[in-house]
């Protein structure tokens, strides 16, 4: 299935049955990071690399490479702030979240 055939300009006949999506991982194509005005900030110097923040992120917006997390994927981070609470090292700061 070519998802690019589905767009806001295609007619109803060209949509999939019941709007189903026959492909995995398509949420990567949607920049849900646009939804928020506030973003968490990653303070690498304070990070212990415990990785507790990674699984709690509902948008998989914390990339991990070689067992170490990197800076946020701001294209997909919706700014929910859950990671701020998960971090015991104070390495994630966000306006309005303690």
């Amino acid at each position: 299935m070519d998802l690019h055939k589905i767009s806001e300009t295609c007619g109803w006949q060209d949509l999939t049955e019941g709007m189903q999506i026959y492909q995995g991982g398509t949420s990567a194509q949607f920049p849900t990071g646009e939804w928020t005005a506030v973003k968490p900030e990653f303070i690498e110097a304070d990070c212990t690399q415990c990785l507790l923040c990674v699984p709690v992120c509902p948008d998989s917006a914390i990339p991990v490479k070689d067992k170490k997390r990197g800076d946020f994927d701001y294209k997909h981070c919706k700014g929910c702030g859950i990671c701020v609470n998960a971090c015991h090292a104070g390495a994630i700061k966000m306006e309005g979240v303690k």
């Binding site: 806001e8 007619g11 109803w12 949509l15 049955e17 189903q20 999506i21 026959y22 492909q23």
Partner: protein, 393 residues
Amino acid sequence: MGKRDRLSGNEAVAIAMRQINPDVMPAFPITPSTEIPQYFSSFVANGQVDTEFIPVESEHSAMSAAIGAEAAGARTLTATSSCGMALMWEELYVAASNRLPIAMALVNRALSGPININCDHSDSMGARDAGWIQIYAENNQEAYDNFIQAYPIAENAKVRLPIMICQDGFITSHAVENIELLDDGDVRAFVGDYNPQHYLLNKQETMAVGPYAVSSYYMEAKKQHANAMAEVKQVALDVAKEFAKISGREYGLFEEYRLDDADFALVIIGSAAGTAKDAVDALREKGVKAGLLKIRLFRPFPAEEIAQALAHVKAVAIMDRAESLSSQGGPLGAEVMAALYRARSQALAVNYIYGLGGRDVRVDQIEDVFGQLEKDAAAGQIADAYRYLGLRA
């Protein structure tokens, strides 16, 4: 060869379900449909079916589980009535918009309130805009036959929509009548295996069901759904033709009873059609050209065909076993009148509300309806197009 038996409508539908041998049945009991999952769970316990029976905690859960199972690729059915279906309301639309061909045995019962457990059509009529196919039965044989035809209609590649097979609560569901059952093997072969093109448990293809449709997609999704619904009429006729080959019983979009030369006609749904046929016969004996049109397929609504079948009548009474409280009449009345108007019919039309909450309807009452139609036709006009039948005043 078929087997002659005597069964209630509930037992007949439960046997149809056993013969179909579905993959999953989530169900929650509610009068008067309780017997259907009750009989069926005994088939499960006896090892007569391979079905996963899920005794859920509510009808909301029953339809939710049905949606999940059907999306996973399992042939799924359930049964309910009245407030049970009302609790499924949200999920009815989800099942239909996701194009999941779930089959539901609906045993029609009045909606509360006032609370009442007896027959009328307010439950399914209330759900008429949910995007489900709706087929109605006059008796246990039709309920059984319609259920066997349910999946071949619903699962057709042009359709892929959920289907409600309706029968009248208690009157049909609990009354024991003669019936001819088909052989298990014939039913299995007729219904066939379920092989959906896309399903969640397919290891070869990942998929998502029910994505969010923003404003720029929602209308197109509805049009696509409406288009699938428009395909149902022909598919239902094709399936009926195949069904006649194994059963000898013929079905259409509706049944015409002594209608072809009728001056006065009744349009009716469900078990009261049997009573009305007796009234038609009695009037024909007296020389009155009475006839009847019994709706089988209500969703989609075969408007052009109904208007065509009524083209020659002088006056028609449209019988609603549901109030829509619009101050104009019931849902069937509105749809048949719209069909007649679109066809530029000259027939006088009147809408009767009858049989609510299980109120009995008698042959002499239907004869009175025809008598009134004759008077209306003689007067050349209908002064009050919204009437009650059998109401104390």
